[in-house]
């Protein structure tokens, strides 16, 4: 055993180990199972995710640093891990009918989903630049392959190549920033780094590091102007992958962002809060305006997800514990509505229809009232209309901004949410007010029915009674690293 690592460190990473073991098991099962029965792999994947989730239970109130500060096992990480596992499970459920229609072999697909989940979990727990980077790479590489998973589809291939090239480029920028941080502090551990940066706020090299890391992270969360890849990748990638990308990858990147900036560079708050202010305004405004003109649903949801990254950044700009809480709440809520919306897009994918154009939604309320109602709920929630969860999330993000006296940011935020409702409601218009229909009737499979049911219930329940979520997110935000950091930012 290498020096400095003890057996107890392995105990604390049980969930990650379980997930890794499960993923390897899946790979073996793929080879052993006859081709006809490989559809069962989805259920194995769900089982792995379930067991991993169960293995999180002993760590519900743990708060330790593992292996001399490579990983943190705390409620902040736990919150995200639960989110990732849930999102992965919903993605798997969505993938069952989707892969069937596309005629793709499921084998490596589910393995890659699990790998991506593993990467995300490491990112959320990482308090060391090395760990964070390894997690990020694990996730990103899995997604590069997943984006191009539909081999015969030109769009899918294009998406994979674009994502890979731009992703590699942005990782380079991020790494450059990280290496500057390391060079200036002599450590890769974020918490140690925070102490050594104190009092050096005006070092131009440090400011450069902040700018580079912001750019690198900005790419991952698809913040304007680093968002160019998102619409193409979202449109080309298989729909469930797009869903997972827009929820899991985004949440993991935000976890990384919070770790790096709030834990690693609290004293540079002035700089990065300003940068994120600009990014936030640019992201939500550009995202929403671009979304208005889209006729392809996946592209529209891509731009809408860009806009949502802009809203989420308000929490970082606020820079308070309240802001972080709001981000956690919003990320959780966002995953329900976003996954649900992509679930409906999967539903519309039939043998005879691609189902990702706006006109494919035409008359949906007559042909499949439940799916139309579900989409209505998701759209209203994305737009932030009560009593859906999206309202509660936005309420808290705007609240955090106002609490930190960022009044104009809040005003720009709410006006943006009005713009966004214009295109969300347009889908509703197609579903409820137009009658001409295309292709065969979309049918709910049990798996998809479960996805939509869970997402609808979650979206409405969290909108009416968000109490537990607020409390959990609050507790998670408070476990974040240096206790005084967030207070110091006020």
């Amino acid at each position: 055993m290498p020096p400095g690592i003890s057996l107890s460190d392995f105990y604390y990473i049980t969930p990650e180990l379980v997930l890794t073991g499960g993923a390897l098991l899946l790979l073996i099962a793929d080879v052993l199972l006859p081709r006809a029965q490989r559809a069962a792999l989805a259920w194995v994947t769900l089982l792995v995710l379930g067991v991993t989730a169960l293995s999180l239970i002993p760590f519900a109130s743990t708060r330790v640093e593992v292996a001399h500060g490579l990983l943190a096992v705390d409620q902040f990480a736990l919150f995200f891990k639960v989110l990732f596992l849930g999102a992965a499970a919903i993605t798997v459920l969505m993938s069952i009918p989707y892969l069937q229609v596309e005629g793709a072999s499921p084998g490596e697909y589910y393995f890659l989903i699990l790998c991506a989940t593993l990467g995300m979990m490491v990112m959320a727990g990482g308090i060391d630049l090395i760990t964070i980077f390894i997690g990020l790479e694990t996730m990103a590489v899995s997604f590069y392959i997943l984006a191009g998973f539909i081999k015969p589809s030109q769009r899918s291939n294009e998406a994979a190549v674009k994502y890979f090239l731009l992703g590699a480029f942005s990782l380079g920028i991020l790494l450059y920033g990280m290496s500057l941080m390391y060079g200036l502090s002599g450590t890769t551990n974020l918490r140690v780094m925070a102490a050594s940066f104190a009092g050096q706020e005006h070092d131009p090299r440090l400011v450069l590091a902040v700018i580079l890391v912001v750019a690198g992270v900005g790419f991952k969360i698809a913040a304007v102007p680093f968002h160019m890849w998102a619409p193409d990748v979202y449109e080309g990638a298989p729909t469930p992958v797009t869903a997972f990308l827009s929820v899991g990858s985004k949440a993991a990147s935000f976890a990384m962002l919070i770790r790096i900036f709030v834990e690693g560079m609290p004293t540079m708050g002035e700089d990065w809060r300003l940068l994120f202010w600009v990014l936030s305004v640019a992201t939500m405004t550009a995202g929403n305006i671009a979304a208005v003109t889209q006729s392809n649903i996946k592209r529209m949801l891509a731009y809408s997800s860009i806009a949502h990254a802009g809203y989420l950044l308000m929490g970082v700009v606020a820079g308070t514990s309240r802001g972080i809480t709001a981000m956690l709440v919003y990320l959780f809520i966002y995953s329900f509505m976003q996954l649900g919306a992509f679930g409906v897009v999967v539903l519309l994918r039939r043998a005879d229809v691609v189902g990702d154009e706006l006109k494919d939604f035409s008359g949906l309320s007559f042909r499949n009232p439940f799916a139309a109602f579900a989409m209505l709920v998701f759209m209203l929630s994305l737009g932030g209309i009560p009593p859906t969860a999206g309202f509660m999330g936005k309420l808290w993000l705007f609240g955090a901004a106002i609490d930190s006296h960022c009044y104009w940011l809040a005003v720009i935020g709410v006006l943006n949410s009005v713009v966004s409702l214009y295109y969300y409601v347009r889908i509703v218009v197609f579903m409820y007010l137009k009658k001409e229909t295309v292709g065969s009737t979309p049918r709910l499979t049990p798996a998809l029915g479960l996805v939509l049911g869970v997402a609808v219930l979650g979206t409405i329940f969290l909108g009416v009674y968000p109490r537990l979520l607020f409390e959990l997110a609050d507790a998670s935000a408070k476990t974040l690293g240096v206790a005084g950091v967030t207070a110091a930012l006020r």
């Binding site: 209309i385 808290w396 106002i402 609490d403 009044y407 809040a410 709410v414 009005v418």
Partner: protein, 547 residues
């Protein structure tokens, strides 16, 4: 009856859920269920009128439970005189609107009634909530069903009108939300408690700068809903294209959300800013009164005419409110109820002929009194109620508003009076063009008069119009405490001035109403100026020092 308000609030929603279970082909069952639920909803709300204690200054039937404790939001309901009357108006108009749809809606009936019932819960919730966040939740919940009502069952230009309504109201709403949040954090910095409790907000003394911003934020939210000039442009479109029931609900209840918001939130929470903004509010109201009336005069579309008359009437309501004295505010509330009754009735009347002829062009009609005498008679009563003819409800509201405004400023009263005159002009002109003369259009020769069901929708409105016109005292009595509370917050000098300088108490609204037919008594009750002389011009009720 610990949960009386919740019962009223959720009855329509329960009905909507029940409707979900009914097969959509079974139109009759759907209609019967919806009508029964709406009727029950009305009946169970009637005891509110009797159980409400007008002498008690506090909110009544209070229900309070934690909702989101981590942010201090509560499920907090309660009513005072103002909300009691508006709740009763809502349950009544809700039932009337549903009853009036019996023959009008044949397409997607199930969804239609579900949306109407959900809307009903949203409106009731907004009037009952004493938690600002809960209020906002209900406020926004109303948007979606109304959007669908206009968008699916509306006429020609419905998509445009629906989205216009939706986005206009939404912009105002979200800006108001920011105001709510700012108020919330300010309250925390003073009291140390996170809470959206309205009764707590009513006790705050907010610094003037913050009040100024908050007033503007709330103003945007409420003024769009009222709608005040220049935010009124969504209203004629929405009204014209909405189905009859939608127009009725919109005019009778939803517009009151805005005025209710001003009375419940802006005036008592932001008294100094409210006084400061009086000139702006009055100017916008006066423009609204005159402009709305003039545009109504020029309309060729029956429904659009009524819609513009709404703009004018609601501006009158706002003018009375911003006289900031008890008489003006009482008048403003009474006029809100009147507007609900008369304009709701007028929209129903348009709906009746629209169902028969499928056109709203005024020039298509003429001489209808020959073939539809009952209809013409009811139309006449509603017209007169809208104009403000004595013995009908409109008169009481208008005279109180005029009096309150007169005390505040004679010039304003002049414009308010001109609104009344113009109102008579466009309504009588409409009546003359549609009801009198010979039947020149052969399509009108065999129009059927009102059926029993249709008559039933008008009966409560007729009764109320006459009742409020002849004996408004029960209504005024219920409002007294609410008005006193609002004036006590927004214009505290008003009462103090009377106590110090006059031997007589300030006239209660009830006393004034009783005196309307006796000029001498009326004069003796007139407010007096600082020296105790009867008021000739501007002194006593004048809004006190502005910044």
């Amino acid at each position: 009856m610990d949960h009386y308000l919740s019962l009223i609030l959720f009855t329509p929603l329960a009905g909507a859920l029940l409707l979900l279970l009914v097969n959509k082909e079974n139109e009759n069952a759907i209609k019967w269920i919806a009508n029964t639920v709406a009727f029950i909803g009305f009946v169970i709300s009637v005891p509110l009128w009797f159980w409400f204690n007008p002498q008690q200054a506090d909110f009544q039937f209070v229900e309070r439970a934690p909702w989101i404790p981590s942010i201090g939001a509560e499920y907090f309901l309660g009513v005072d005189g103002l909300s009691t009357l508006l709740i009763l108006l809502t349950t009544m108009m809700g039932f009337i609107a549903i009853l009036s749809s019996w023959n009008a809606i044949h397409e997607r009936t199930k969804e239609y009634y579900i949306f109407l019932l959900v809307l009903q819960t949203g409106m009731l919730g907004a009037f009952m909530s004493l938690d600002f966040l809960l209020f906002f939740l209900f406020w926004e919940v109303m948007l979606v069903p109304m959007y669908f009502l206009i968008g699916i069952w509306g006429s020609a230009n419905r998509l445009y009108s629906a989205i216009k309504f939706f986005l206009y109201t939404l912009v105002g709403g979200v800006i108001m939300l920011l105001g709510i949040l700012a108020l919330y954090f300010y309250a925390h910095s003073v009291t140390g408690v996170y809470s959206f409790d309205l009764t707590m907000f009513h006790k705050l003394n907010i610094p003037y700068d913050l009040q100024w911003w908050l007033f503007l934020a709330f103003f945007l939210g409420f003024a769009v809903k009222v709608p005040m000039f220049p935010f009124h442009t969504w209203l004629p479109d929405a009204h014209t294209d909405a189905p009859t029931a939608g127009s009725v609900i919109l005019a009778a209840v939803m517009l009151k959300m805005g005025t209710y918001g001003f009375l419940r939130f802006s005036l008592p929470i932001l008294p100094e800013a409210s006084r400061h903004f009086v000139p702006m509010m009055v100017l916008l109201s006066i423009i609204g009164i005159v402009y709305g009336a003039l545009v109504a005069l020029a309309q060729k579309d029956w429904k659009r005419l009524v819609a513009y008359s709404s703009v004018s009437h609601m501006a009158m309501v706002m003018l009375g409110m911003f006289a900031l004295n008890p008489v003006g505010i009482t008048g403003s509330i009474i006029q809100q109820l009147n507007h609900g009754i008369s304009t709701g009735g007028l929209f129903l009347l348009v709906g009746v002929v629209y169902e028969r002829r499928h056109t709203r062009e005024i020039s298509e009609y003429g001489g209808l009194s020959k073939v539809m005498p009952v209809y013409a008679a009811i139309f006449l009563v509603m017209t007169m109620s809208s104009i403000g003819l004595p013995t009908l409800n409109g008169f009481i509201g208008e005279i109180l508003i005029l009096q309150g405004v007169f005390v505040a400023n004679k010039m304003w009263a002049f414009f308010a009076g001109s609104g009344v005159v113009l109102g008579a002009a466009y309504m009588l002109y409409l009546y003359q063009r549609t009801m009198f003369g010979k039947i020149e259009n052969p399509k009108n020769e065999r129009l059927l008069d009102l059926s029993h069901r249709e008559f039933a929708t008008f009966a409560p409105l007729l009764i109320l119009a006459v009742w409020m016109g002849l004996y408004p005292a029960p209504f005024l009595r219920r409002l007294e405490m609410s008005v006193r509370h609002i004036v006590g917050r927004v214009n505290p000098q008003y009462e103090a001035k009377y106590a110090a300088d006059c031997d007589t108490k300030p006239p209660t609204a009830e006393a004034i109403a009783a005196s309307n037919n006796a000029a001498a008594k009326f004069l003796s009750l007139m407010p007096c100026d600082v020296n105790g002389n009867p008021l000739p011009a501007t002194a006593a009720g004048q809004t006190p020092e502005r910044r």
